[in-house]
């Protein structure tokens, strides 16, 4: 594809009609990467705004998340039609999709090689298919354990094994129960920390004086949680 074609493609995409047709084709290709190899990345202004907001921790992020949720909410109805899911299931899948998308955007996994819509639809589609597959193989009732494997990436194998074995002994229900006993301010602070906010950003959001104060408070809250968990 030469520059001339690219420019022509971009001009063509300006019209909603062409835009819709191209997306219709892309979505049905069901391969995010294949769909964009012959076109340069095309992120709409509002999509870029959503991403930028999500990448800024603080009120902008919440705004971005809310915007993202509303932006593609019509996928829910599509899943009801296309995959014959109940509205509740389709809503849950969509919620999972948005949460997963937010995490990936923050991690930097979304490389803008396709539109945000195409990318999110791909995640949504995969989750719908997963749900259907679980249903057909009767795996849905299997108890889902909480895993910390995602957090162990930076360990070497021996350390990973030790931590994983110890984590398997964690009583997750008790831990979550204790989270509700550490007090509101501690809980809010720790939730922001787990959500990827830096101490500086937490300070700005929760109106702490400095990031150092946040760090001290955060570690104290963690200590408190540990104390409560150990006393059970």
């Amino acid at each position: 594809m030469n520059d001339k074609d690219f420019v022509a493609g971009r001009i063509g995409m300006e019209t909603n009609h062409t835009y819709f047709i191209l997306y219709f084709v892309f979505i049905n290709l069901e391969d995010e990467h294949a769909s964009v190899k012959f076109l340069k990345p095309f992120i709409q202004t509002d999509e870029r705004e959503i991403i930028d907001n999500i990448l800024q921790n603080g009120p902008e992020r919440k705004k971005g998340e809310e915007h993202l949720f509303h932006r593609y909410a019509y996928f829910i109805q599509q899943a009801v039609y296309k995959y014959s899911l109940s509205r509740e299931d389709a809503f849950d899948v969509y919620g999972d999709t948005i949460i997963s998308a937010i995490e990936k955007i923050i991690e930097g996994s979304f490389q803008r090689r396709s539109s945000l819509k195409t990318w999110i639809y791909q995640i949504f589609h995969n989750k719908c298919v997963d749900l259907l597959r679980k249903r057909t193989t009767n795996k849905q009732s299997i108890h889902r354990t909480v895993s910390i494997s995602d957090l162990l990436a930076q360990f070497t194998d021996p350390s990973k094994t030790i931590i994983q074995e110890l984590a398997d002994k964690t009583d997750w229900d008790v831990l979550r129960q204790k989270l509700n006993q550490i007090g509101d301010s501690c809980r809010r602070l720790l939730l922001l920390w787990a959500d990827g906010y830096s101490d500086k950003e937490i300070a700005a959001t929760l109106e702490y004086k400095t990031a150092d104060v946040v760090k001290t408070s955060r570690l104290r809250c963690l200590g408190k949680l540990k104390q409560l968990y150990k006393t059970t």
């Binding site: 895993s147 030790i162 540990k226």
Partner: protein, 246 residues
């Protein structure tokens, strides 16, 4: 213990020196209490992440209820589906329309005549090597100089009034020049040459009427085509095809 938490926190924030990082991992292997503290740090974070997901899902439900976005979706989706169906219907209609135009729609006699003239009367057969005046006139005709060709054919007729070919070609040139009345004069005259072998005059007479398309022309042309077919005259095959489409 808080000291250890700070140490653990520094490790996960990437604030430790590479040597310290190595020591950190060695301590996990050698100090079970420390390994448990690290595990707790990670488990707490993971439990908090689960809480975040639960809270976000709750928030999404509130957003959906507040903004009724889902009810809007109900309207949007059928419209999008309808668009797809409409596009499919349009394509199918186009296919049927094209099929109708190409295979089913009857062609009018004047269209049949036009197509025949464009296809069959653009060039006249010339005999290579022969350089008589008739061949010369036909070359001129084939070059597209119809008026000049007509003059040449007419001169031949003037010189030899019994020259059947020159007369039939004169009629054809008049037909090409859309001077139908003059063309008809020639063809009607030539129809009387019943003894002439392979006389196409009746066929050309019908063709000219079909092309002229004045009131009554079609009916007369049809009768002439029937004559061509019944009497096995020149142009019988085409006459039969046209009558089938009439």
């Amino acid at each position: 213990m808080e000291d250890n938490l700070e140490y653990i926190d520094s490790y996960f924030k990437g604030n430790l020196h590479p040597d310290q990082t190595k020591q950190f991992e060695q301590r996990i292997a050698n100090d079970r209490n420390f390994a448990e503290e690290v595990t707790f740090y990670l488990s707490a974070k993971q439990a908090l992440k689960k809480e975040i997901i639960t809270e976000k899902k709750r928030w999404f439900k509130e957003l959906a209820e507040q903004n009724s976005s889902l009810s809007r979706v109900r309207q949007i989706t059928p419209v999008r589906k309808l668009w797809v169906y409409a596009a499919a219907a349009a394509v199918i209609t186009c296919i049927f329309f094209a099929g109708y135009i190409l295979f089913i729609k009857p062609v009018s006699p004047s269209q049949m005549a036009k197509q025949y003239i464009e296809k069959k009367l653009q060039r006249l057969d010339v005999t290579m090597g022969e350089k008589d005046s008739l061949q010369n006139a036909k070359w001129t005709y084939n070059d597209g100089q119809l008026e000049v060709a007509l003059e040449k054919f007419k001169r031949i007729v003037q010189a030899d009034s019994s020259n059947f070919d020159a007369k039939i070609y004169s009629g054809i040139v008049y037909l090409r020049l859309e001077n139908y009345d003059k063309a008809l004069e020639y063809f009607q005259e030539l129809e009387k040459y019943t003894s002439h072998y392979a006389n196409p005059a009746t066929f050309y007479h019908a063709l000219t009427l079909m092309k002229r398309n004045r009131p009554g022309d079609k009916l007369e042309a049809k009768q002439l085509l029937k004559q061509v077919e019944q009497n096995d005259l020149e142009g019988k095959k085409t006459a039969k095809q046209w009558l089938n489409k009439w």
